[in-house]
């Protein structure tokens, strides 16, 4: 078998379909994973004893449990107790739960790095605690957590490939199916590799542009 001797015309449409699914997975999971992270982090820092412990437990579980196992639990396990999701939905749920846990850790660090005086000043102006968290603490915490959060987004891009293991035909899955059928593993996976490398690099570039744009003078996570 010689290299590059297979049919691009056959391959590319297949990969294109797969790429669409990959993008769908990422673009749906990312915002909800982000919101999930905020909820858990705020619950952990500002919640009462019960909520705080609950959120802490959430983080411990979803960081300690491998993502693939989580996907298996949702897609293969839940049906046995009567809860069934499609493969795509299962993958998205798994990503949101897992991504949210990691995001919440970065956000929590960001929140805790805000000097106490900010909350004090907000309260002294008559803001309620929730107003203060929303208007004063979170905007600053988000900026400080940005490097960590964008890191997790890159991980989401890469780990979207695991959806294939629960039968979602995203780009890795499409590639493997094609490669198996046409016995062209090396070439196909080089292409997939380039796809992911390109995606990750572009995402990284866009993120650093965004970070520069929303940077505030003198405000650098110190």
């Amino acid at each position: 078998m010689t290299l590059l001797q297979f049919d691009f015309d056959l391959l590319l449409p297949v990969l294109y379909q797969g790429a669409l699914v990959t993008f769908a997975l990422i673009l749906i999971s990312a915002p909800f994973g982000f919101l999930n992270g905020i909820l858990i982090a705020v619950g952990r820092v500002y919640g009462n004893r019960f909520i705080s412990t609950l959120c802490h437990g959430y983080v411990l579980f979803f960081k300690g449990c491998p993502l693939l196992l989580l996907l298996f639990i949702i897609y293969f396990g839940l049906p046995s107790i009567g809860i069934t999701f499609t493969a795509f939905t299962s993958a998205v749920i798994g990503f949101i739960l897992c991504n949210g846990a990691y995001n919440s850790e970065y956000l929590r660090g960001g929140i805790q790095s805000i000097p106490a005086g900010q909350m004090t000043a907000a309260l002294s102006l008559g803001m309620s605690r929730s107003q203060a968290v929303r208007s004063i603490i979170l905007p600053q915490a988000l900026r400080r957590s940005l490097p960590g959060l964008s890191n997790e987004f890159i991980y989401l891009i890469k780990y979207s490939s695991l959806a294939y293991m629960i039968t979602v035909v995203e780009i890795t899955g499409a590639a493997k199916a094609f490669a198996t059928k046409h016995f062209a593993f090396f070439e196909v996976f080089i292409l997939i590799g380039l796809f992911y490398l390109g995606l990750v690099t572009i995402a990284g570039y866009v993120i650093s542009r965004v970070e520069k744009r929303i940077a505030i003078p003198g405000f650098g996570g110190t």
């Binding site: 579980f61 300690g64 449990c65 298996f72 293969f76 839940l78 294939y164 293991m165 890795t172 090396f186």
Partner: protein, 226 residues
């Protein structure tokens, strides 16, 4: 449906070899990563420009690609192409090792850079050569500073080891799946396996934290060194 049926309990011993395989993967990969990561970091900081470029590309590739794609690429593509027929376990260990080496080299590189300037000046001013300075002054400190970031690789490798299921390595998740295929109680088995992973994860981190505390340089990283 009872939570722990007899069938489940009977199949538990079957998981044990899976646990050993998982830990084997993780520790082997950590070792490979360490052996490769330190020299790579040194080259990245002190090497000539073309060598630095090679390391940078390596890191870019092995950090940018999903672990699943790397496993497929090596297991179905590269190794057969090279005509090497080694077991899935070793391929997985090598792939995981190469990948953590990329991350580890960045960790070590950061640690070296953080002390590089001042320490190198001091060492050279005492008459040491560059390599003497690196061996006796830079590395001992950099390696200790890198410990917290380095020990962080353990939980990452542990969770990634489960992906090796995709190429048939008989680690914990694979074994669990085989049990589920036989006795059809997926929820119980999977949650049990999750519990095992969580225990392995946090107890391993505890062990590493103790090691880290033992070797930490007191007072380091708290403000400027005078």
């Amino acid at each position: 449906m009872t939570i722990l049926s007899q069938a489940v309990i009977d199949s538990l011993p079957y998981l044990l070899p899976g646990i050993f395989t998982t830990l084997g993967l993780v520790l082997t990969a950590l070792g490979i990563g360490l052996i490769m990561g330190v020299p790579m970091a040194l080259i990245h900081v002190y090497g000539s420009w073309p060598l630095q470029y090679i390391i940078k590309t390596y890191v870019w590739i092995f950090r940018g690609l999903p672990i699943l794609v790397l496993l497929f690429l090596f297991y179905f593509g590269i190794f057969p192409l090279l005509g090497l027929h080694i077991s899935a376990f070793w391929i997985a260990a090598i792939v995981l090792g190469f990948r953590t080496a990329a991350y580890q080299s960045e960790i070590f590189r950061g640690a070296i850079l953080s002390i590089q300037d001042g320490q190198m000046l001091a060492a050279r001013s005492l008459g040491m050569s560059r390599s003497q300075a690196i061996i006796h002054v830079i590395l001992p400190q950099a390696l200790r500073n890198a410990l917290p970031g380095w020990t962080n690789e353990y939980p990452i490798l542990l969770t990634d080891s489960s992906v090796c299921y995709a190429i048939g390595v008989a680690e914990l998740l694979t074994r669990g799946n085989q049990i589920v295929a036989r006795i059809h109680e997926p929820m119980t088995i999977f949650v049990l396996i999750a519990a095992i992973f969580i225990i392995l994860n946090y107890s391993g981190q505890w062990v590493f934290a103790r090691i880290e505390r033992r070797y930490r340089i007191p007072g380091y990283g708290e403000g400027d060194t005078r």
